[in-house]
Amino acid sequence: MSKVGGVGVPRVEENLPPVVLKNYGKWDTHEIVKPGVIKRVSKTGDVCHTVRTAMPPSRISVASMLELCDLADKYSGGYFRITLRHSFEFIVVVPKQINALIKEVEALGFPVGGTRNSMHNIMACPSWIHCNLPATDSPSIAKVLGDALIKEFKNHKLPSWLKINIGGCANIEEALMADIGIIGVHRDLPIVLEDQIGICERPTVIAICPTAAIKPKGEFSVSISAERCIHCGACTMHCEAILTGDPKLDGYAISVGGKASNTGSGPDLGRIVIPYLPNNPPKWQEAVKAVVQIMDAWRKDAEPDERMREWINRIGWDRFFRKAGIKVSLKDIDGYIYGNEFARSDLRFGW
């Protein structure tokens, strides 16, 4: 059988508007004209206006993408870009037509915003739409949070930018990298399908468990120890005969303070401050309340230009929990392998 594929990706030049290609590597400054609209200025004097919109979490229809393409044809010479936060961006829009574009694209249901000191586009994994592992549903949480925070998306009134990422389970690579993250949490033991467990090799699933919770049982099956299991999901991911446990016990945790950029205190992963909230579709009121509570505490107290993490670093975790109104429990103490590093070894308390 001949191999298909192997062609790689198109050259970047093939997909750049002429102005962008001409000024490749020559961009000098940029300014935010208004929320969602960025003007880039080149050393050659050329300018490039971009207009950014929110996108539906996780899935979009071909029909909607084609409608966005129509607008890109009409307003940005047939070019667009998907940002690293999955926003849709029209590139090289004629300044005089920006307002007309905003009107049209918002009428289609894609609000414009998500630049500078606003809430940026929300990132979410597919979860219940197309995954077997989720403990919660990222897309619908993203949707209700977007609805609740639409004002923050469309203006620049936050102290700095606010990035929210949501993942349906501990697999998510993005949640801990955002200012506020939501991560699905399983609390029940995984279920072993006794009649099917023989379909693959037991050693793999036994070796994969980080806490050695999985032991051989009889000749063909395995058992999972409730004392040892930390609900990491590794077994359910790799073994077809192990399913996630009771959905009534599933929910999600909330993290704060993830940050990738090297400014300020540098890059760091977020820390989990709320261990569990229950799944409650379609309103997800607990998630909205928690996020708004954390955001408001930050907004009230942060200095201009201060990301969530820099704010927390300045005031300390003592005051963060107090100001955000979050109750501390034993679940906040890390008992896992790195736990001791996060325990306190100083007396610099923030009473």
């Binding site: 191999k3 298909v4 594929g5 192997g6 790689g8 990706v9 198109p10 970047v12 093939e14 997909n15 750049l16 962008v20 961009w27 400054t29 880039r40 929110a54 539906p56 996780s58 899935r59 979009i60 229809s61 071909v62 029909a63 909607s64 084609l66 393409c69 044809d73 047939g78 070019y79 667009f80 870009r81 998907i82 690293l84 249901g109 609000p111 979860s127 219940w128 197309h130 995954c131 077997n132 989720p134 549903d137 209700v144 977007g146 639409i150 998510i172 993005e174 801990l176 590794a234 077809e240 959905p247 599933d250 990738a260 090297n262 400014t263 205190s265 540098g266 890059p267 992963l269 230009d305």
Partner: protein, 383 residues
């Protein structure tokens, strides 16, 4: 009464709605509605669907609800350099998605692929791949392979870029296409790239291997332009006060950056148009960033603090990248991510195998225990 009350509730409101989108496609909406009703996914185990000749392209997904749908596969299209798209080609991708799939797309995945969803059989998967190939696009990024290698927009549209990431992406994808399409590693390798330490690509945190543009000399200050900026209301004092290392001194209309303090964090460069990065630019390579796996979420660690960016063959980059992959291939255990392997083997061992000359750039502080390993030759033959 509607039979999708949950989806209907999520179709209202100002934020773009995924349920509204799903209803515009042939996605089996009862799978999602039922999931919300039962608070449990209706999908079953996933894996690779093996289509002769297709390598790692297709992700198979079984269903727990054969009464609604039996299964639904998807194909990942490698995202474009800089994620720039042209409507004329993108319309063709839409056409393919509509013809072979259920008409829904994932724009984009966390690894910046476009997913064409709802593909039902091998022929359709081959069809998607062949039509994409014909227009210069490719599939892959699944299984225990090198995944798509996403980049930031780099110099195409960003003034901060220190290396040409969209072209590096094109190069890396071509160079490693076999390893992207044919899984051969212990587990997946996610590579992430950012053009500068602002890290829009979250390469250090996110990448099993991270490739990030850096500079070594000091930020360059155009004093004349700076004074003009200050005259127009630019707040240089604010920027000086917020330099994390207090490296900036603004005196007598002149800005001095102290080389004994500056850590090249990008803050002043981001805030002041008259301050640009230095000229001694290259890549930093990190390894081991991830969420999942034995030791939990980890940040990546610096392996190669600085290597030269040398197009067109990026020799040093390829050497460094190959080295990390080789060590992983040889020493990684099945389903063990690079970060977990580094933790298990010891970071010192890993650096030794990488053949890097160890420097202060490799640690945030030296160690605080004396539990060394000594080799016989280090003991001067005493042993």
């Amino acid at each position: 009464m509607s039979d999708t009350p949950y989806m209907d509730a999520l179709s209202k409101g100002p934020w773009p709605s995924h349920t509204k989108e799903l209803k515009r496609t042939r996605y089996p909406i009862m799978m999602y509605e039922e999931a919300m009703k039962q608070r449990l996914t209706q999908w079953g185990h996933g894996g690779m669907s093996s289509v002769p000749g297709l390598g790692s392209g297709a992700i198979a997904r079984k269903s727990r609800r054969p009464d609604i749908i039996s299964h639904s596969h998807l194909i990942r299209v490698l995202g474009n350099p800089g994620n720039f798209y042209k409507t004329s080609t993108f319309r063709k991708i839409c056409e393919i998605a509509d013809k072979y799939g259920d008409g829904s797309l994932h724009m984009l995945t966390t690894n910046y692929n476009i997913e064409i969803c709802g593909i039902m059989n091998d022929d359709a998967m081959k069809g998607v791949t062949q039509e994409l190939n014909a227009m210069g696009y490719d599939v892959g990024s699944a299984g225990d392979a090198i995944r798509n290698i996403p980049d930031c927009m780099g110099p195409a549209l960003c003034e901060y870029a220190m290396v040409d990431m969209p072209r590096v992406k094109h190069f890396m994808t071509k160079h490693y296409i076999d390893d992207i399409q044919y899984p051969r590693f212990p587990f997946k390798i996610k590579t992430k790239m950012s053009g500068c330490p602002n890290e829009c690509g979250k390469a250090l945190l996110h990448g099993d291997i991270g490739i990030i543009g850096v500079f070594r000399d000091l930020p360059k200050v155009d004093q004349k332009r700076l004074n003009q900026w200050v005259k127009k209301g630019g707040n240089i004092k604010w920027v000086c006060d917020h330099c994390p290392t207090d490296a900036m001194k603004w005196e007598k209309n002149k800005l001095k950056i102290d080389g004994n303090r500056c850590i090249r964090c990008m803050y002043c460069i981001n805030r002041v148009p008259a301050i640009k990065s230095g000229d001694d630019k290259g890549f930093a390579i990190t390894a081991g960033g991830k969420m999942k796996g034995k030791f939990g979420p980890m940040k990546g660690k610096v392996i190669f603090p600085f290597i030269k960016a040398t197009p067109p063959d990026y020799k040093e980059l390829v050497q460094a990248y190959d080295k990390i992959c080789e060590i992983y291939d040889e020493h990684g255990r099945k389903k063990e991510r690079i970060g977990d392997m580094m933790q298990r083997l010891g970071f010192d061992k890993f650096l030794e195998w990488c053949g890097v000359e160890v420097s202060t750039m490799h640690f945030s502080s030296p160690r605080r225990n004396t539990f060394y390993h000594w080799e016989a030759e280090e003991l001067g033959g005493v042993k």
